[in-house]
Symmetry: C2
Subunit: 208 residues, 2 copies
């Protein structure tokens, strides 16, 4: 049973990637998965239900990765902890690169489903990022509102996977390879240690 | 004549945004633009032709912005020049935010057209970025390949516009407003001055 569900999801992701969500029909998915259309209806109701299922599956895995990392490295010192945290998120995206690219692209559309998911999952992610951010030592540097830095942080984490083709063709970087993950973690860490330092007043701003 | 072309493009962008490229038909576009389908065929051949036209229009405007900025600020000192350069690109994205979001999202798909555009326009952009990069003073810092920094640079420039909804709903930041453009330029400049400094050997690597 679970195998069939997984098979439908796998076929759907491939078709959505190649033809876009709007350009793919339930019939296309059934054909690719070598299954009857009625089975898709049975499991997912319709195409929207299938998309929702893919999103939920993705975010559950994503938060599981973060939570496991936090648990596993909780006794490490701050900068090491942050390194492991970033590395785990990038490894997740690298491992799930096809799914990740699809989800990140779909999250850039303006639909009811995306708004719902943003309100739940991305607000949860926000809390995780703020917690991480609070691990950074306080210093006196030019005051820039934290939200801009957190947006920049998010950009760095997802951009190579969302624009994988750009990374590959323009810079010959392959975001799904372990080498990329390691180096990109280092580059983000360099940014963290050099620019993620804010005066105490600024740091509080983010929690409103 | 040009008005009608512009009207078709405008309607197409709105529909592509709302329903996706695959989910929009030429008939939908004709209905929205209040025009006969045959006129779309006359100007753009088909839906692919229309998409190509939108991309070309966008990139022409984009490079015009960069070129004008380079020309206008060529006598400024390096850090000021870089500031104006970043500010001009962000202003362009803010001004064209609907079109920008659409093009950036479509560029994340894997089609023949996207590959072609990457090979021409994004390789041209690459050259511009490398030239800008060479304005940064050389210092001794941990060696990280430039390509990673340039990928990071690109991420920062486009991400808020591509994930505009995320910026808005999660961080209450509004990328199409002048305030955002000014502050985001400052944040990127902070990153440039603090992490964009590499030993000479590393800097050459990018030009191979």
């Amino acid at each position: 049973m679970e195998d069939k569900k997984a098979q439908i999801i796998h076929s759907a992701i491939q078709l959505f990637q190649a033809k876009g969500y709007g350009g793919t029909s339930v019939r296309d998915i059934a054909t690719k998965a070598e299954m009857n259309v009625s089975l898709i209806s049975y499991y997912f109701n319709n195409k929207d239900g299938l998309l929702r299922n893919i999103f939920l599956l993705y975010f559950e895995k994503y938060f599981q990765t973060i939570e496991e990392t936090v648990f596993k490295h909780s006794d490490k010192e701050d900068s090491e902890f942050i390194y492991e945290y970033i590395h785990a998120i990038l490894s997740f995206h690298a491992k799930e690169h096809v799914l990740s690219r699809f989800v990140l692209r779909e999250m850039a559309t303006d639909t009811q489903l995306v708004r719902e998911l943003t309100a739940t999952y991305l607000m949860k992610e926000r809390q995780y990022f703020i917690s991480l951010f609070h691990k950074i030592p306080v210093q006196d540097t030019p005051a820039i509102p934290d939200r801009f830095l957190l947006l920049q942080f998010k950009s760095m984490l997802i951009m190579p996977f969302l624009q994988a083709q750009y990374a590959r063709e323009v810079w010959q970087l392959f975001p799904n390879e372990p080498y990329f993950v390691d180096r990109h973690t280092q580059v983000i860490m360099q940014w963290v240690t050099k620019t993620w330092v804010l005066p105490p007043k600024q740091r509080l701003k983010v929690a409103y």
